[in-house]
Amino acid sequence: MSSVGASPQATQDDALRNVVIRLAGNSQDGIQSIGGMLGRLAGRTAQEVMTHMTIPSTISGGPSIYQVHLGSGEVLHAGDVADVLVAFYQHSYDDHLDSLKEGGICLYDSEKVEETRDERGIHHIGVPFTSATVEAIGGTAKDRGKNIFVLGLLCAMFHLDREKLVGIIERQFGRKGEDILRNCLNAFDAGYAFQTTDLRQFRFAPGEATHSKRISSDGNTMLGLGLIASGVRYGAGYPITPWSSIMELLRRELPKYGGIFVQAEDELAAVSIALGASYAGHLAVTGSSGPGLALKAEAIGYACMAELPLLVINVQRGGPSTGLPTSVEQSDLLQAIYGSHGDSPRIVLAPKDVEDCFYIVLEAAQLARRCSCPVIILSDQALATRIEAFNEPNLHEHWIEPELDLSERGEDFKPYPVENLTQHAPPGSRMAEGSYPKVTGLEHDEMGHPSGNPVNHQKMTEKRRNKLIALAADLPLSEVYREEDGEILLMGWGSTYGPIREACDRLRDKGLCASATHIRHLHPLPAGLDELLARFEHVFVIEMNDSGVYGHGQLATILRAASCNPAIHSICKTDGLAYRVSEIVDGVDNFLA
């Protein structure tokens, strides 16, 4: 299933199962756009896909890549090495030839690139992207259309579903006006029909996905739609990369569902506005990326203390501080769990892939309502922007229609019962007993009155913590991939799910007794995880964060503290790039060596 073992040439006669295409150019040339279309095509052809892109450092664009991993079976990562490189410029060629596997194909613009390196059996194919496009659609400023020309080339080369691809182009460019669409289609056809003797033909094995309705999307979109499906109708945020596109989606979509999303003046206001809506009886959302999460810490701590439900999305990026805003990292875990002052128990979850972004919000909303506390979802820059194809969620099953519960509360209503889970009464609900409840961040008694009583503070602290202990007991224990015990357990959380699975297979291929597991519930950890880990000789926690002063990544730190299991080791990195499968395999090899 790995793309690395099989070269396209080798399987020329057989159908291809996997191919990794790296488009390298300048972001202005629309490489993201055609990469996205390839991703969308996968959704329509029962194929799997995972994409990866880099974002240029200036707003007006600059060198950038878009990598697409297409597969007939499961696709778990964006590809360690590329089968095909499309190089638009000399700098693209120079910077990315190394990413091609041995015997890979380098397709380049023969008018811009000089073929300088003859190495590792790489097949060079020069095509005059620029002039062929100009020929097809007339000379346009800024070489527009080249990308679509290349899409046509790729379509022919891999026998992609031409009709569906044309449909995607029509949807994308149709609204921009007739002329533009016509140009696009002409460019596409020119690429599709372009004759080059060099050009090999590959054919994909039919996709294996069985569901009739497949969609393709990035993670941020699925988080946004998941929120709506969870019954979230109110929220507030402040722009920050890579969180912004979620708030843009909510701002656009929520009014259709009768909801409101507020662009606040800053993150402090955003979390407060969301908390106001939650207090008012509508579970609400706020979100940001690292620096913004730091600014929300005080109010999140309030939600823990006042036991108000709240959804907080944090799309992690490279840190600390402004860091690497368009790179991926998983270094906000400890902040998410421990970032507020005092003992402020909250729930922290992380989705494993784009599809899971949808379902994790549904679970988060359910937990926030049940435990009446904030739930933080840790996504990351890679998940936010990459495209995957998967089955359309079944909304019959996965839909919560929000309800505002203003029913009269009985004589015994208390906003903070010591023995029971807190369920607030929103404003507007009548109190049978005649005395109206207060919600507060001061330590309080059961009615919400401030209380400095020592016994009360001890009890209330325990109450807020014990609901998480009770939850931990109910959480499903993480599934183990491959065997339930053995020599090696690879574990991770968030977007590294795919590469870790794949690394597990590779270690098996190498004869090691490896298994893998994935932590979806980061705080509290599911009860019984200790015992699970204890069944393995070595536990490797793979994370995209720093190994810190004591040599352990952030999840590893928590696991070690909870279980004191010295078999827990860390494989960490902070280069701002998603894990390659080989890096994980090497990490394990190095440890065992």
Binding site: Y234, V262, I273, A299, H449
Partner: protein, 299 residues
């Protein structure tokens, strides 16, 4: 003020029904009068406990919600306005009242004031300005006059204070008034007008901190030799920002009354309008089908 949407109109509340915990304020604190005045207005307008909610940040004055027998929330320092914004936008059936001090509102919360004002969030905000930090025991506040000594200005405060009326005008608040806790009738009138204003309304009330800054506002109390000068609304054009700005420049204790009022759509109205227009466009698709449409476009 939002139109009360509660199903059945109810009996007016008695003072007794409105009272909750006995206030923890110091004897003589101006905030007692603000509370009394607030009770008057609730009674006068015939609001019941399911019609309104009290929101506050942190400070002596921000303890207000505990003393009102209604739904209430005591939030963190300086963020009462955004919290109230969340309530207001998501619950058009509720009158949202926000209470707080000069520190809470003009120091740590100053930016939220700027933005809630320009966005014209539908709520009423009462600022109990005692020109000092009460709860933390006598530090300089953003409205402390130059020369006053405090724990953080042992030599007398030197920074120019915030001019509340000018700041509110500068940030386009749509209803701005000023009153004095020693003048309960005036205060009650201001509150009533504020509540009736559609959109964002602010009343700054000079409310003496008897513990740390006694006598601060005597200059506007006739029985203490001061003058309580009202704005003459026959002469003052309530809709003129520049007239209001002139009033705001008067020497302490200045004038009292409504400085400015304009009626423009609140953010609540504007967002609702967008929702309505969207609904008109999309017809009555069930919410799930709306999302299915979205999914279809992602195929």
């Amino acid at each position: 003020m939002s139109d009360s949407q509660s199903a059945q109109p109810e009996e007016k509340l008695s003072k007794k029904q409105l009272k909750a915990d006995h206030p923890t304020w110091c004897p003589g604190c101006g905030d007692f009068a603000v509370l009394a005045s607030f009770f008057n207005v609730i009674q006068k307008l015939g609001l019941t406990q399911t019609d309104f909610v009290c929101v506050a940040g942190i400070g002596c004055s921000s303890r207000f919600p505990y003393f009102v027998n209604s739904h209430g929330i005591h939030f963190i320092h300086g963020r009462a306005l955004p919290l109230a914004t969340g309530i207001s936008l998501s619950r058009p059936d509720q009158h949202v009242f926000v209470f707080g001090g000069d520190g809470d509102g003009f120091s740590i919360g100053g930016n939220h004031l700027n933005h809630a004002a320009r966005k014209n969030i539908n709520l009423t905000y009462v600022i109990m300005d005692n020109c000092v930090y009460g709860l933390t025991k006598n530090q300089t506040s953003p409205t402390t006059p130059i020369g006053r000594r405090s724990k953080t200005d042992p030599q007398g405060s030197a920074d120019r204070p915030i001019n509340p009326m000018a700041q509110l005008l500068g940030s386009s608040a749509s209803f701005i008034a000023r009153s004095h806790a020693a003048h309960v009738k005036h205060m009650t009138e201001m509150f009533e007008r504020a509540v009736k204003h559609p959109g964002f309304s602010v009343v700054e009330v000079l409310s003496e901190c008897t513990m740390f800054y006694p006598g601060a506002f005597d200059a506007a109390i006739p029985r203490k030799g001061g003058e309580f000068n009202l704005i003459n609304e026959e002469e003052h054009d309530l809709t003129s920002t520049s007239k209001a700005f002139d009033l705001a420049q008067l020497e302490f204790p200045g004038k009292f009354g409504v400085f400015y009022q304009d009626e423009r759509p609140s953010k609540n109205d504007l967002e609702q309008k967008w929702i309505n227009e969207t609904h008109d466009k999309q017809g009555d698709l069930a919410p799930q089908d709306l999302m299915r449409q979205k999914f279809a476009a992602m195929q």
